[in-house]
Symmetry: C2
Subunit: 411 residues, 2 copies
């Protein structure tokens, strides 16, 4: 088939990427990606849900959008509305819920509906890398706002909003992950939520609330979504990738019809996959709460394992930002360490991780930070991987000098 | 929830569309959209396939792309390779097959990988409306090539290629639907396929082959895909929307790695929905041939019903382009009739159809053409709808003067 030389290489668009590398499997210690725990997929119950829903509604797949309109499978939208009411304090209306093909599509649609090049957007200084790249691609001007252990520092947000207004370049949108921030894992307290909505009203700014991880909180609950406080100026997205499975491409968006109706008009994918929608809906309508409770316990146990391992291996040389839920741990090495220099030797040892600068707007300012995901990995894999990573780090930088109370030595 | 005035209306991007209209259900005589026949969805067997595959591979959904790389579920890619070999004369390699989230995503990815604004693309003069809009959006310069009852007129293609070359604006890509052309339903004969590949080589042009409907041929088989003749310069896409169901978002693309690898690099949707992939794969690996044979017979029967109805209602006032497969019928009223003027009165009578100008690059030159889809509709609905459409047409234009051998009268 490749006997003749490809004509394609000479016909590509300017700016097209090189061909993807051939997939050769995962690294042994795979600490990246929003993956879940394969042992927590309820295959028997999903199989049963699939059987039931396909026998009942399977004929609908003959028609685009199941013949039910572009917002998605109505029972799934009703489930999302119920879930948001019970867990996120939101009086949601299924008529204003749009099922998206993953929550990244929700980001794409909000960006497409709202942003022109040059519009000013505030992002959290450390932020989900796919969001950063999507906002950058839009041509928006991105202004980072400071984070502390409780999320956005409101005085810094107020400063930015005032300065941008004074400059004649008002902030059009604040994008935030207030509940299990990515990557820091913080939860914005209620008083800051109220302040943030006040500021948004004062400066006539939209809030784009991303609640990708909000269903996975250790303590359960969490303060109500920003959307519940200001449905007139908050657009809210969520995901099933973290509560059920990322290989299903299922997320949702809600807001008033001025935004959701435009997102629906811009959604050009011919609908979100019907069987993914139907099966998730059938299963979660009955089992969501118990599924999430059980999953969260498993995740918390893995986090505890990872925290123990990092503290034992790195001691005081690693600052941990212990997350209040979710599937990842954000941390910082001493300023002397540039984690970008660890990427290659770590890969050689079978370890992949997220270097800080990819999850931050601060560039060099996040050079000592890194993110490790733990949901996919077994506890044994976590312990081994963190130990090997400490060894790589020591060999490259001399840090940490001791691991598990033993002095590190070269070789 | 809408007690406060929405802040969104004043914050939208320049050029954002208005909010979508609220969905209120389908028209009674719904002759648009690439929908299938709900009675032909094998719900029992899909339910069984779902149960089997979820029990076996369901745990994989915990990981993005099922942990198997960005090209898609390997058993589905193997099925596509086998099917293309058996039915389309293609020696395909599953390693070069990319599963796409619907074949429209395949179009988006080829366009993104290959076209910059100003690049010259040849499209068939009557063409799938979503393709037209996607190419227009890319900023490419679109040159229409003539069609006859057998597809692209090769002398016209040769003329365009030579003229564009002489102008210093060579054709970068020919986009074609050679096997069940949309909307004309033609099949490009073998000699023209060879000629087209020769021309593409002579003028160093890429061929983008869209085989969305090629599995639904009345006579079975059909000449081999263009891709089989020139794998070095043809990129090929196909779909499961027509053979199985459009509410699953499943298509595929194949070509050499220079193009497929770039499409994989550009595919930013986090993977194609896993359950849609798994279930389609499990069912089709065993039942594809018998499913398609049975479905095609049902579709042919509906087409015959529609042809009978149109001929009886419109007589010699409608020219039919009888398709060699697929799910739609392209036709033409006398030049005096502008079908765009029939849209509103037809809608009032519960009828929706595709006006020619939406399915053509000729604008006013297709004003008397229209496309009617028949797969979704029962034969009774087809007969009633065509009769009502003839009545609307007569009332608006005086054409047809007689229907089913009875003189039409107003009111």
């Amino acid at each position: 088939m490749d006997s003749q030389v490809s004509a394609f290489a000479s016909h590509m668009a300017k700016g097209a990427p090189p061909p993807a590398a051939r997939f050769t499997g995962f690294a042994e210690y795979y600490f990246i990606g929003g993956n879940n725990d394969p042992t927590q997929i309820p295959t028997e119950m999903l199989a049963k849900a699939a059987e039931t829903v396909i026998k009942r509604d399977g004929h609908l797949i003959a028609i685009y959008n199941m013949g039910l309109g572009p917002l998605g499978y109505p029972p799934l939208r009703k489930f999302v509305a119920d879930k948001m009411q019970r867990h996120r304090g939101v009086t949601a209306d299924a008529a204003n819920i749009l099922i998206t093909t993953g929550s990244n599509q929700g980001i794409d649609l909000v960006v497409a509906a709202m942003l022109n090049p040059g519009d000013v957007v505030v992002l959290e200084e450390h932020c989900y890398s796919s969001s950063i790249s999507r906002f950058k691609k839009s041509g928006a001007v991105i202004v980072p706002v400071k984070l502390d252990d409780d999320g956005i520092v409101m005085d810094d947000l107020a400063r930015i909003l005032a300065e941008q207004k004074a400059k004649g370049a008002p902030v059009k949108m604040i994008y935030t992950i207030p509940t299990i921030q990515n990557p820091t894992g913080s939860i914005l307290p209620m008083d800051r939520r109220h302040r943030m909505v006040e500021l948004a009203r004062q400066f006539d700014t939209i809030i784009f609330e991303d609640e990708c991880y909000a269903d996975l909180i250790w303590a359960g609950g969490g303060p109500p979504a920003l959307y519940s406080l200001a449905p007139d100026r908050v657009v809210h997205i969520g995901s099933f990738s973290k509560t059920l499975a990322p290989a299903l491409r299922l997320g949702y968006a809600t807001g008033d019809w001025e935004i959701i109706g435009r997102m629906a008009a811009l959604k050009s994918d011919g609908g979100t996959g019907a069987l993914d929608q139907m099966i998730a809906s059938e299963y979660f309508t009955t089992y969501f709460d118990e599924h999430v409770e059980s999953l969260t316990a498993v995740l918390k146990d893995k986090l505890d394992c990872m925290v123990e391992a990092v503290e034992a291996e790195f001691g005081t040389h690693m600052t941990l930002f212990k997350p209040k839920g979710g599937i990842f741990l954000w941390m910082k090495l001493p300023d002397a360490v540039d984690v970008r220099k660890l990427i290659a030797p770590a890969a050689k040892a079978g370890i992949v991780f997220n270097p800080g600068p990819e999850w931050s707007l601060l560039g060099d300012g996040a050079k000592s930070h890194l993110r490790l995901c733990f949901a996919l990995n077994s506890k044994e894999n976590i312990r081994e991987g963190v130990a090997k990573f400490a060894k790589v780090c020591f060999e490259e930088t001399g840090i940490p000098p001791r691991s598990r109370n033993v002095t590190n030595t070269a070789g």
